[in-house]
């Protein structure tokens, strides 16, 4: 008996390992995606270890040094210093923390409700449940997210938390719609029908039969969305509605430095490129994931 269960476990693990290996194989076929992943890992770890690897960790917090303000890039300050004398390189690395945190928090708050609502609406398509959920979704989707995010954050006290809150509030409808589309097409698939006919519970059908089929698009969208959320966060802080000083925040740094163009170009160009890099990396990884999942569908 025990032997049998062990064999079962081993086989299951082996299957899982195999599909992971296969996924990675497909992913690794695209060198750009691999590059994106490497960049992302680099950004992630350096953001995580920022206090230990940056040259002037103090510059991320309460610090001023007007004597060294506005210095051009040099070996001492790779990306130069800003108007208060802080090391731009250090602040860019710390700035990634904010961006990544924003992305992770927004998506983890936004995705779950969106997915659940989308599943329910998709499965119960044609009933009042679907109508209520999808009309509410429509309302949220009726204006571009940045506009609503601006409107909301403009009214709240600007800080990291409120920016996250505002964006998260806007994010679920996208997942709701995505999952709705998948779920309502899967609803008539025979394997769902079969589970119903067999007497399986709603929860089983929603979360065991339909949800696994939504995972691929959700994951892909999530990686691509990380880029979009980071962009949105950067945009909000560019307008001055993001994290508050002295928190290093890429959008704020760009906005701040832009006032000093073309003279102190380094204080805006480097943070701007940093934003581009992280979004690019997420896009590349997202495309890689899409490849992985797309081939599987065939």
């Amino acid at each position: 008996m025990w032997q049998e269960r062990k064999a079962d476990l081993v086989a299951t693990m082996k299957l899982r390992r195999q599909s992971l290996a296969k996924g990675w194989y497909k992913y690794s076929r695209n060198p750009l995606s691999v590059l994106g992943l490497i960049v992302l890992v680099l950004i992630g770890t350096s953001a995580g270890l920022a206090p230990y690897i940056t040259p002037y960790p103090a510059h991320a917090g309460a610090f001023t040094n007007f004597r060294e303000a506005g210095q051009p890039p040099s070996w001492k300050h790779l990306f130069g210093t800003d108007r208060i004398g802080r090391d731009v390189f250090t602040r860019v690395i710390f700035g990634y923390r904010f961006s990544l945190l924003l992305g992770v928090v927004v998506l983890s708050l936004g995705v779950a409700p969106g997915v659940v609502l989308g599943l329910i609406a998709g499965y119960r398509r044609g009933t009042w449940v679907e109508i209520v959920i999808m009309r509410i979704t429509d309302v949220f989707l009726a204006v571009p997210p940045l506009v609503l995010a601006l409107a909301i954050t403009a009214m709240l006290t600007p800080n990291l938390l409120n920016a996250m809150f505002a964006i998260a509030l806007l994010w679920w409808p996208w997942y709701c719609r995505l999952v709705f589309a998948v779920a309502s097409s899967l609803r008539n698939q025979f394997f769902v029908r079969e589970a119903e006919l067999c007497g399986a519970s709603r929860a089983h059908i929603l979360f065991r039969e339909i949800l696994p089929n939504c995972v691929a698009p959700i994951l892909t969208k999530m990686t691509l969305d990380m880029g979009i959320v980071i962009l949105l966060g950067a945009s909000l802080s560019f307008v001055g509605l993001g994290a508050q000083p002295p928190t290093p925040c890429l959008g704020t740094m760009v906005a701040d430095g832009a006032k000093r163009l073309p003279g102190e170009w380094w204080s805006t160009i480097f943070p701007a490129l940093a934003i581009v890099l992280v979004i690019l990396a997420f896009n590349l990884v997202g495309d890689g994931l899409r490849d992985v999942f797309a081939v599987e569908e065939v």
Binding site: Y25, K26, R29, V295
Partner: protein
């Protein structure tokens, strides 16, 4: 000289997992005004073969490793795009399996038909008269296929037609010009028997009128028996047996053909055999030698070594099996 002769054709696909060796030394020929059937199960490479002949194989992922496709003795695979286009306009054409996929959903039947005639070399002249002449020819081509009310159909879009109607349109497109060779890739697989019956009868008639040769590709033994004089049986990328249709069906020689024939449900109702054990091989690592040997009850050591050539078995009947070596 045969109208079309395929010699030792090897074609594969490069995919994520590796290289799929699909066509494995295909040899076959079609004579002038001959009707040839090609029967094989799903995935044995029938469509690949047709696309190779027509030079429309997507390259990459596909790759033509070696072999020749001789049309009147000239290798199609070596022709310039211009020559190929000329060939397609005048000499050979095709009908594909899925009539919905084969018609462009964005344009009316009339537009598509007319453009084929406009671009074919059979020009009548220029100007308004030509337009009207072309339209008239389109309508008559549709009517030839047994299409009711062809004038109306001309302004319809593919989705407005039923499966049978679409297939008639495909036939009209293929036979609107006077071609010498028609490659029909499973023209009736998705249709009901009654409709299939109508369409095959019509196709038969039209090909007869034009004196063209036909290659009919199908899963169905019954269809080839009705329509063709000669038959090829294909398995996993190569031809395993050929001969006069009735002869092959009545007394199949290759173990695969025999298994297949036993699996076909008969109207006589004597029950069905157990089919053929196993399934079609994986093209990534196909079995060496005769690709059928892992499923074959008569497999011998020699089968593993090299693919068998065709051995004659009397009365035009040839089999690629070492059982018939002597």
């Amino acid at each position: 000289m045969a109208l079309l002769e395929v010699v030792d054709l090897h074609v594969g696909y490069r995919v994520f997992e590796g290289y799929l060796k699909v066509l494995n030394g295909v040899n076959f020929e079609i004579e002038e005004q001959e009707r040839v059937g090609l029967v094989g199960e799903t995935g044995c490479g029938k469509t690949t073969l047709v696309k190779t002949i027509l030079r429309v194989l997507p390259v990459p992922p596909a790759r033509i490793q070696r072999g020749q496709v001789l049309y009147h003795g000239k290798d199609i695979l070596l022709m310039s795009p211009r020559e190929v286009r000329g060939l397609r306009r005048r000499e050979m054409t095709a009908i594909f399996q899925d009539p919905l996929q084969a018609l462009n959903p964005m344009f009316t039947i009339g537009t598509q038909l007319r453009d084929i005639l406009k671009d074919s070399q059979e020009r009548v002249g220029r100007g308004q008269r030509t337009q009207r002449a072309i339209t008239a020819r389109c309508i008559s081509a549709l009517r030839d296929t047994g299409m009711p009310d062809p004038e109306r159909i001309m302004s319809n879009y593919p989705i407005q037609l039923s499966g049978g109607m679409r297939q008639r349109v495909c036939i009209a497109e293929a036979l609107s010009r006077n071609v010498r060779l028609l490659l029909a890739d499973e023209p009736t697989t998705n249709l009901d028997v009654t409709i299939q019956d109508q369409i095959l009868r019509k196709l038969d008639q039209l090909v007869d009128q034009r004196g063209a040769s036909v290659l009919i590709i199908t899963h169905s033994m019954g269809v080839v028996r009705d329509l063709t004089q000669r038959l090829y049986i294909m398995y996993a990328g190569s031809m395993v047996e050929t001969g006069r249709t009735k002869g092959v069906l009545a007394s199949p020689l290759h173990p695969y053909t025999q298994g297949l024939m036993r699996s076909v449900p008969r109207l006589t109702g004597q029950g069905i055999s157990d089919g053929i054990p196993g399934r079609i091989p994986n093209y990534l690592q196909p079995p060496s030698g005769c690709r059928f040997h892992p499923r074959c009850a008569h497999a011998m050591p020699v089968c593993v070594e090299a693919p068998p050539p065709f051995y004659p078995a009397g009365d035009n009947h040839r089999v690629a099996c070492y059982l018939y070596r002597s």
